[in-house]
């Protein structure tokens, strides 16, 4: 019974995800379109984060670094060498995957707390590198991407193509997550997340499984970073690779439901518009965005640590039981 319900819930969420492409078409307001694009993008990003940290139950507070790698790869290759951002996006993904392989290979075996601290240090090093390596990255001034509309340049005058791109990105990541969830990799990941030693005793190669998920997560995050850079057309290292951005991944995923394919969708669809609208309505109050993220994070952890989706599921299950009785 619960199984059929779960199936149906996933179907409903698929329909919501696919149908939401109508939203940016329904409005001419560029501000609302911007919020919708950001919602799509962050759904994909949070789902990428969830792929490793959610299923494995191991926290990465450094994913903003992978976001940064993707953003810089696309922006720098395009701005300095005229290489199409589509190619830059692939390059960024490859680079992020390579970095994740090295970082993951040496830190994934660390115990919980140490791993978390290592991910923070990694993000800090990436940020420091972006600021100090001026000859590559342009330093703290960032990168201003020239405006030359055209499909090959991943640049458009209207916001609609960006929305479609972000939507495709989101759907692709969600599809991968659903696929992984019902694959050997997904089952192994959750087994490792619940009890690594027990999983290893049953013959699961935990290090390999974790590294695979970590690299996948990094690559998908970098793809999102490239799209974000080309959409915003400007990169600023300290805000791009900030702790706030790293936390945003986590918040959206855990608010929606950790380790579920559609959890990040639920989290992002509620929180991204909410925080953006608040920021849009009080533009003069700096710090409001971070304050909100922090408060929501605390509230989610203290009161609804299982997230929006599981809470909804519980609600529906109760109702169904009530119907029967």
């Amino acid at each position: 019974m619960i199984k059929t319900f779960l199936k149906r819930q996933n179907a409903v969420l698929w329909i919501i995800a696919v149908a939401s492409i109508a939203l940016p078409l329904l409005t001419d307001n560029r501000y609302y379109q911007d919020i919708i694009i950001m919602t799509f993008l962050w759904t994909g990003l949070a789902a990428s984060w969830n792929l490793y940290s959610g299923y494995c139950a191991r926290l990465s507070i450094g994913h903003a670094a992978f976001l940064g790698i993707g953003a810089y790869a696309a922006a720098l290759l395009y701005t300095n060498y005229g290489i199409s951002p589509w190619v830059g996006m692939i390059a960024g993904g490859l680079l992020a995957g390579l970095v994740a392989l090295v970082i993951g290979g040496s830190t994934l075996r660390l115990k919980g707390t140490f791993f978390v601290l290592a991910t923070i240090a990694f993000a800090k090093i990436a940020e420091t590198f972006a600021i100090t390596a001026k000859w590559i990255t342009g330093g703290s001034l960032g990168v201003l991407i020239p405006y030359a509309p055209g499909f090959i340049n991943m640049t458009w005058q209207s916001k609609i193509p960006y929305a479609v791109l972000a939507w495709v990105y989101m759907l692709a990541i969600l599809a991968v997550c659903v696929k992984v969830e019902h694959s050997r990799l997904g089952y192994f990941l959750r087994a490792v997340g619940e009890d690594r030693e027990a999983a290893e005793n049953l013959g699961v190669n935990a290090s390999k499984i974790m590294l695979t998920a970590f690299v996948m997560s990094a690559v998908f995050t970098a793809f999102g970073g490239s799209i974000m850079a080309m959409y915003v057309m400007y990169i600023e290292p300290t805000s791009l690779m900030s702790m706030t951005n790293s936390v945003q991944f986590i918040l959206l995923a855990i608010a929606g439901g950790l380790g579920t394919a559609f959890g990040p969708l639920a989290g992002a669809y509620v929180l991204v518009p909410l925080t953006n609208l608040m920021r849009g309505n009080f533009p003069s109050v700096s710090g409001l965005h971070g304050l909100l993220l922090g408060l929501i994070l605390i509230a989610v952890l203290l009161y609804r640590s299982s997230g929006i989706l599981p809470a909804l599921k519980g609600f529906f299950e109760k109702r169904r039981k009530g119907d029967m009785g």
Partner: protein, 286 residues
């Protein structure tokens, strides 16, 4: 050579402050088992308190020390009672995210209330310099170093010699066993959290004549303190003191030899290397 020595000694002096920030964090981590990401924001808070007390009374931050520490103790107590007690038994990730959320709230609250301006305490002591041979050392820094080391050593003695200190070490070693021996561990947790907060508050007071205060100052120092704590072997107070001094010297020397932009990179690199090759810390026991 003289410049090298000068760099070395200013590294040692900064290292003393890093040590004081880190022993508080070590205490909270060792005893309560909490990775407190809001530690740096407590530092920021104490510096703002010092600044505003100076702004309204024109007194040296040292003179308003007691008021500052009382406020910090109260803040520590309230945060522990209202938030931390709810997650003492929760998963480490939940605790870490919670303190991270708290740090974001405090940091952004400061940004909303005080704007991003740099605020300086300017009293006589801020420009005073002690000349010792060819060395020129700022009085405020020497003062901060002396008090910081004294406070860190006092904490160490407190943990070794007093009944409460011994109880804290027992809880740090094995919580459940300590509870079986009749120690009220919740009370010990609270005391350790408040002491840790007061220590970082003291660091804030000592730093206020040296550094300008701004909303994100805490995050710079808290990552640094985490590095020191890991270098020091996680729950060892002497380790944290040595780790603090080491980071101070590494930072200052890297700044002098390679250029100021590499200061941060140097100690992050050191940190990653230690994590990979000796996760029990440079001064860890295992």
């Amino acid at each position: 050579m003289e410049q090298l020595l000068q760099a070395f000694f200013s590294g040692i002096l900064s290292g003393g402050i890093y040590a004081l920030i880190s022993v508080g964090l070590t205490l909270i981590f060792g005893v309560v088992g909490l990775v407190n990401f809001a530690h740096g924001e407590f530092l920021m808070l104490s510096m703002y308190i010092a600044y505003w007390l100076y702004y309204f009374t024109q007194l040296e931050p040292y003179e308003t020390l007691l008021i500052n520490l009382i406020i910090m103790a109260t803040v520590g107590y309230i945060v522990f009672k209202v938030i931390m007690t709810r997650v003492l038994d929760a998963d480490h990730s939940v605790q870490m995210l919670l303190t991270l959320g708290l740090s974001m709230v405090l940091q952004n609250l400061a940004l909303m209330l005080f704007k991003a301006d740099y605020r300086n305490v300017r009293t006589n002591i801020t420009t005073d310099v002690i000349n010792a041979g060819f060395l020129n050392l700022s009085t405020a820094r020497v003062m901060a170093f002396a008090v910081a080391i004294a406070a860190s050593v006092a904490l160490y003695l407190f943990l070794q010699k007093t009944y409460t200190g011994t109880a804290m070490r027992a809880v740090a070693q094995h919580g459940r066993a300590a509870r079986l021996m009749g120690i009220n561990i919740k009370k010990i947790y609270g005391q350790a959290f408040v002491i840790g907060t007061v220590l970082v508050g003291l660091a804030g007071v000592l730093m206020s004549p040296i550094y300008a205060v701004f909303p994100t100052i805490g995050s710079n120092f808290s990552t640094l303190a985490f590095i020191v704590v890991v270098l020091g072997g996680l729950s060892s107070v002497p380790g944290a003191i040595l780790g603090g001094l080491l980071i101070g010297v590494v930072e200052s020397m890297a700044g002098y030899l390679l250029g100021p932009v590499y200061q941060q990179a140097a100690y992050f690199l050191l940190f990653i290397l230690v994590l990979i090759f000796k996760p029990s810390g440079l001064f860890g026991r295992e």
